[in-house]
């Protein structure tokens, strides 16, 4: 879909866009589990799907039983904290396979993930790029691939603590060497809350994830083209995914004066 829009857009042919009303169908609510274990601990969020017209984020599930089991036999119950979140100091170790079990209202969901090694970031820069008559701001993130193994990465940029942009990639484009991920931010002159302001804090989190988590997140990244749900990561019929990952963080305050101009 995006590709087609892009082609038509650069041909200058799109004469009109307008918002249309859709009579969305009702659906049977499904559980959503989003789980991570990293070097610092474990966090699981359990929620449910919302109706399309419902924009509240309060569909939290607070009565689940969450259990994490490592392939060395270690088991921990992850306690409920608040608002659908279950947290523990149970930290992951690279190379270990973890199994997440979630029981709620008689339903049982399971997923596994293998903890990966710690990724390495080379550079993050902000670049203005002119396209036709407009300038667009891009984030250019460079990673150093973990050598001599297959790797998959999840990169998430938070703005002032809220998710802003994310992407996944695998290292097959340039194994053992530098990998690049571009993020499109906004058009120069755009006026809405998506536009970065001087002083905004950008928090970049880079996770080395396993292939199962990558497959889930990649299919989620493709949803505007596929118009289907991401591939299943859990057995038992819930949405969401579980990832055991090592991660690094990088903080940068945004200032327009720091943005470079691409002169290619």
């Amino acid at each position: 879909m995006r590709r087609l829009l892009y082609i038509i857009g650069i041909l200058g042919l799109m004469s009109c866009t307008k918002e249309i009303s859709i009579d969305y169908h009702s659906h049977d609510t499904r559980y959503v589990v989003e789980g991570t274990i990293n070097n610092d601990g474990t966090e699981i969020r359990v929620s449910t799907t919302n109706a399309m017209e419902d924009n509240t984020t309060g569909s939290d599930v607070n009565n689940a039983t969450v259990t994490l089991t490592a392939d060395d036999g270690t088991t921990a119950t992850i306690p409920f904290v608040r608002n659908g979140y279950y947290r523990s100091k149970f930290a992951g170790i690279a190379g270990t396979v973890y199994k997440l079990d979630v029981e709620v209202d008689g339903q049982h969901f399971t997923s596994t993930s293998t903890m990966q090694r710690t990724p390495k970031m080379n550079e993050f820069k902000l670049v203005w790029k002119k396209m036709l008559t407009e300038r667009y701001l891009f984030g250019d993130l460079r990673l150093q691939d973990i050598p001599n193994e297959s790797n998959w990465y999840f990169m998430h940029i938070y703005r002032n603590g809220l998710g802003y942009r994310w992407a996944v990639m695998k290292d097959d484009k340039n194994p053992n060497k530098e990998l690049q991920q571009l993020f499109t931010f906004f058009r120069d002159g755009q006026h809405d809350n998506d536009v970065l302001q001087d002083g905004d804090e950008l928090h970049i989190v880079i996770r080395a994830i396993d292939q199962r988590a990558y497959d889930y997140l990649y299919s989620m990244q493709q949803m505007s083209s596929t118009a289907t749900n991401p591939i299943d990561n859990f057995t038992g019929g819930c949405l969401g995914y579980f990832s055991a990952n090592s991660e690094i963080e990088y903080y940068q305050d945004f200032y327009y004066r720091d943005v470079t101009e691409d002169d290619e």
């Binding site: 087609l4 041909l11 307008k18 249309i20 499904r30 924009n55 809350n193 949803m223 083209s225």
Partner: protein, 684 residues
Amino acid sequence: MFLSTLLLTALVAMPITPDTLRQEQLDEVVVKSNSARQRLRQIQTGAEQVQLKDLTNSPQLFGEHDIMRSMQLLTGVKSESDASSSFQVRGGTSAQNQILVDIAPVYNVGHLAGLFSAFNSDALVSATLYKGLLPAQYGGASSAVLDIIGKTGNKSEYHGGASIGLLSAKGTIEGPIVKNKAAFLVTARRSYMDMFLKLSSDFKGNTLYFYDINAKADWTINENNQLFLSFFTGHDRTALEDMVDIRWNNLSTSLKWLHHFGSNAYAQSTAYYSGYQTDNGIDFLGMNIWFSGHIRQTGFRQDFHANLGKYRLDAGLQTALLNVKSAEWKQVSLHEKEQRRAWDNAFWLNLMTPITKKLDVSAGLRVSAFSPLGGSLYYDLEDNGDIAWYYNYGKNQIVKTHTVLEPRLSVNYQLSPVASLKFGYTRTSQNVHALRNQSTATPFDRYTMSSNIVKPEVADQVSAGLFMMTPNQDYDFSAEVYFRHINNVLDYRDGKSFASEIEIERLMLAGKGKGYGIELSARKNNGRLTGWIGYTLSWSKTKIDGINQGRWYDANNDRRHDINIVAMYHLNKRWNLSASWVYNSGQAFTAPSGKYMIEDNWIYYYTERNGYRAPASHHLDVSAVWSKKYRNRTHQLVFGIYNLYNRYNPFLINFEDGEYGAGTKAKQYSLFGIVPSVSFNINF
């Protein structure tokens, strides 16, 4: 809108010298657009012909006289979208059609993302559309076949012409190579929007053009032998400075030898080549991506025809080597490619004969044998699409042979001199398959062939119709019902898109489809006012295990109602007026039914594929043609308005999040509002 200002086109039309054999065949088997009696008596149900010389009678987009758009105005034929050149017939997609230009297949028939047809009307004589009910001499498509015939040159004298418009330029030259023996015709067209881009400092680094070239030569060796050499190429390029470059091109050529055995039999031998190629590249802030694909086919076809008393016999065979690259891509040091070859064979026999004075029958059998060849990797798949096992067959080793017996039957029972009943049954198969995320053709479609995993698409269609006319042929009416069932129809697995894997078979699942409907048509054939009203009520559904919980779902080209109204009015010897109104009820598309949070993002939750309907689409197009004849030439001014009442029809519907999840918006993207046009034609 940029293109809406580029609408003055000057055209030069050339005298028509049809390819005699093909035209001769067409005259016998195809309904002429203005002959009610022939429509009534024609055995083959569901066949329609458009004569190129009649194209100026109906309004056209951008002032271009376009055979594909004329096809879309026929009853039972649907356009893919507001401005697409491709068409859909009886529940099939455009990828399930086969389009032949002088025997050679052409795969992507659009210029500028489908806004213009790849076919230059100055180079063509006529086209015949078979809406799924094919005589045995046609195959390779599970839906429809469009057989286009190119124009041959004038054998007695030279003619030439050129046209220059704001949108594109055309040039044509034809004449004898050896007087009264051999002739040639060459016509070329090129858009030049890129010249306007260069006038702007902001756009001068961009490229946006297409061109096509048609050439045909024929040589009458003696009264029994004739040779035809036909060539067609079309090329599109859209480039955004050095950042994005999108190209696709078609190339087809054929060499045909026609030999007559007396007056009642002939043989036709045709060697042909067809190639379709896409190349797309992105070079952006250090990120370099390139991907491409192709379909290439080299083949030979032998046709025999004999009139044996009351029997008319058609027989033939066809053999072709296919080479399909489903994708090749490069990104930094990654380079992946999937390319396979296959051997495609078919032979056929078709017999037409009257059984009684009132009953005519056409019956035939086509046998298709398709063999994927070794030399590249084949594999087996797990249920989840992972590769379970690789097979490495030797080069040209037959991996598997898919054989399909395709019976064909058409019956015409003459109820009275002014009424007939028709019935048809056809089985067709298709071995080149397209995989699309959307309902329209794009350069990002991926193609594959039947293999050890993918089976041929096999469609069975039955159709019955009642045809009536008034005794003076002023009016005729038809009603046709059809049911079509198709096996091994393909669709994307959930969560997969064209670049998810290089191995295309990992992206898709196979199942079955069905389409059914009724097509009603009323025509007025004579008088100052002529035209027709067509209405189609149709359903198109798919069922694939692993998609939509294994339940039947509407195909993404499903539309319930289609109405075409075409009117042409001959005002006086100078002025002809025409108008067409097209109405399509909402097309099926997939929309979410819920949403949930992952990583601070709203993610849409889909419960059914194609479970929603887009808004209806309709537009009124009008044109007025002023003509004046001089001693040796004719001038013509064509004024047109596309979408007279400026309706913004849906082209795409996209869902966008509000800020921080504050509401999901469905946005409709439209291509055209009102588009006026004017063109100037000289015929000499």
